[in-house]
């Protein structure tokens, strides 16, 4: 076993059960490197929902709540509030985050609670067998869109940004080093951080949507269609069709964070915010 795996994997949960060629292994590695580089294994607190990628933190030997479908974010919010020293990370799939748990995502972003949400996007409901997701491309074929998807996908990063996230980045499993850097940056960012990771699912989205269940082909597609934020800024809308814009998409420093606000109320001894503060915000 690789030394970093030896150090951080939850041995009692092994063997892992991801399909051959799944992107989740790349993300687990990036997560282990993140935790190792930052030296925060004692401070991390993981939550996840339901879906393949929700098992990512389960395989790390740290505290983890493997919760209900879509519900990892409110659980994470409470873990952060009960001890703001925690480094709270959520691993959620696109169905978890954009479908059943979409409401929780936007409200956590609005609150600017200092947690990091990593949304692993394979554009399909993989664990349940390949049904359409809120991220499935328009007109794509899946098990529940056998004649083509009549709906349009969410841009999760735009949703998070619009809802108030103060750090937003997108990478793919073809960018493991950049993903690791982004995770570190997101954890160190004070406020709600959102990272979308496009991740290949050869078993379901490869087979159903892209007509090729070869993980290498899917991986190469990520490489070939990714453009950096800087380069995308110089491209026309037409040129950007079919491209994946990767990099840090958004960051705002200094916006008030939820725990700071809540603990300020507490330290006021129940007196509450001053009249001036309240008036200023009205």
């Amino acid at each position: 076993m690789h030394p970093i795996a030896e150090k951080y994997l939850r041995k009692s949960a092994l063997p892992q059960f991801f399909c051959q060629g799944c992107g989740d292994g790349t993300i687990i590695t990036a997560l282990m490197r993140t935790v190792d580089d930052l030296g925060i294994i004692d401070q991390v607190a993981f939550t996840s929902g339901i879906g393949c990628c929700a098992w990512i933190p389960v395989f790390i030997n740290a505290d983890c709540l493997h919760t209900m479908h879509g519900r990892a974010i409110p659980v994470a919010t409470a873990l952060k509030l009960t001890d703001p020293k925690r480094k709270v990370m959520v691993f959620a799939g696109d169905g978890d985050c954009m479908g059943i748990g979409g409401n929780h995502l936007i409200h956590a972003a609005r609150r600017n609670v200092d947690i990091t949400v990593v949304m692993v996007n394979n554009a399909i409901y993989g664990m349940t067998g390949g049904q359409t997701a809120p991220t499935t491309p328009h007109h794509a074929t899946t098990k529940t869109t056998p004649m083509g998807n009549v709906e349009f996908p969410f841009d999760a990063c735009e949703v998070a940004k619009a809802a108030g996230a103060t750090y937003v980045a997108r990478w793919t499993t073809a960018h493991p080093r950049q993903l690791t850097s982004a995770m570190k940056e997101a954890i160190n960012h004070k406020g709600f951080a959102f990272i979308e990771v496009l991740s290949q699912c050869p078993t379901q989205s490869g087979r159903m949507i892209y007509g090729n269940s070869d993980p290498v082909a899917m991986f190469n597609r990520y490489k070939e269609t990714s453009v950096s934020v800087a380069r995308a800024g110089k491209m026309s809308a037409k040129e950007l069709v079919g491209k994946i814009v990767v990099g840090k998409l958004h960051q705002i420093e200094g916006r008030a964070e939820l725990c700071d606000e809540v603990y300020a109320l507490m330290s006021s001894g129940g007196e509450g915010l001053s009249a001036e503060t309240k008036l200023a915000s009205n």
Partner: protein
């Protein structure tokens, strides 16, 4: 010093919760439970506690579960539709043996139903509302005083039995202002620390000779906890495909409640020694029943009353014993007649069991119950 206050039941629940150590509340506004959230918002920060108004009731129960593993005693309060939305979270809390308290100020249903009118229609939902097999603990206060006392007990039971515990209040109890005595000292069960250090503790293994878990570790104490909603082994690893491990866990989390230490039996009664007819009820419906029994006694009828302060687990033995001594048991409820089925089952044919349902959002009057005692209420249905 003992404090005497005149407060509504909803406030009594809040004061009981805080006195029992609640330091985290997450909720969502809903009538007739909104005062619970409002008072928590006003009182918790001054006590070093956290109040969160979440985006919905689903998030509220999830935050309560997160806070519990974060190390806090945590609680939510809701009613009707909100209680329905929380059911998924209740199941997760049962499966993961997460202590938490839920105050349900019952209103009439189904659906939007009857906001601001009382009911006891959720008394089965509290036990059966989430999918799968499980057991919970449910208290039913009938007064502001009991709202305080039983909320304290609910927190204590949650810590001891590691299960969601429900305070099944109703609109009458929630909104009636009456005298509450708050004693100077309360018996509060603190969260027990694990008896074993990290590396040695199996967080989901029952203590030797017990069906209950060892002390509860919190996150970031070195235990590397895996809290898993899927049926799991003693370490928390998924075991949903393992027949024996799954059956063992499911049996234990039910039996730890059903085979309790005796402390989950909480009934009060009067005039039972020589009673021939007894009114059995819970929550606010016991109040007109008590008045009716007094009137019946004054008229020379050998009547008595029995109040179930804990409805779940159901006190089978108490009802069986009672049924062996009396001729008739009358069960008034603000629903179609639910707990009467449990009474009938436990009575096992040894006494006549009469259902006295009342729908529409009003409490029974004493004269309605008295008429049933006298056998002249045609709304009463004999089982």
């Amino acid at each position: 010093m003992e404090k005497v206050m005149v407060i509504q039941g909803n406030e009594a629940c809040v004061r009981g919760a805080i006195a029992a150590g609640c330091r985290f509340f997450a909720g969502y506004p809903i009538t007739p439970a909104s005062e619970v959230a409002e008072l928590m918002a006003a009182m918790l920060p001054g006590k070093g506690g956290i109040f969160m108004q979440m985006e919905d009731e689903i998030a509220s129960i999830c935050a309560v579960i997160g806070a519990a593993w974060g190390g806090a005693k945590a609680c939510t309060g809701t009613s009707g539709p909100g209680f329905s939305l929380m059911q998924e979270g209740f199941g997760y809390a049962v499966s993961t043996e997460t202590p938490c308290v839920i105050i349900n100020v019952q209103r009439g249903g189904p659906s939007t139903g009857q906001p601001t009118s009382p009911s006891q229609q959720d008394i089965y939902q509290v036990k059966y509302g989430s999918h799968g097999d499980y057991e919970v603990i449910a208290y039913a206060p009938s007064s502001a005083q009991e709202a305080f006392d039983l909320t304290v007990k609910a927190f204590n039971a949650a810590e001891k039995y590691r299960v969601p515990v429900f305070v099944m209040s109703d609109e009458v109890v929630g909104h009636t202002r009456e005298k509450v005595r708050i004693p100077e000292t309360l018996g509060v069960v603190e969260r027990r620390k694990p008896s074993l250090p990290p590396g040695e503790l199996f967080p989901f293994r029952a203590m030797p000779g017990s069906l209950r878990l060892d002390g509860m570790p919190a996150f970031n104490q070195g235990y590397n906890l895996l809290v898993e909603g899927q049926l799991h082994d003693d370490l928390g690893n998924r075991a949903g495909t393992q027949v024996e491990a799954s059956a063992r866990l499911l049996t234990r989390i039910c039996d730890k409640i059903l085979k309790h230490d005796g402390d989950l039996l909480d009934v009060q009664g009067r005039y039972l020694d020589d009673a021939e007819v007894v009114v059995v009820s819970y929550g606010s419906t016991i109040r007109p029943a008590m008045q009716a029994v007094r009137q019946a006694r004054a008229a020379g009828i050998k009547a008595g009353w029995l109040k179930l302060r804990i409805v779940w687990p159901f006190p089978d033995e108490v009802i069986a014993d009672l049924a062996g001594k009396v001729d008739r048991i009358i069960v008034p409820e603000m629903n179609v007649g639910k707990i009467v089925r449990e009474v009938d089952r436990a009575a096992h044919g040894r006494a006549e069991v009469v259902s006295l349902p009342k729908l529409g959002g009003a409490l029974h009057t004493p004269s309605e119950v008295l008429a049933a005692i006298e056998g002249r209420n045609d709304r009463a249905s004999h089982r």
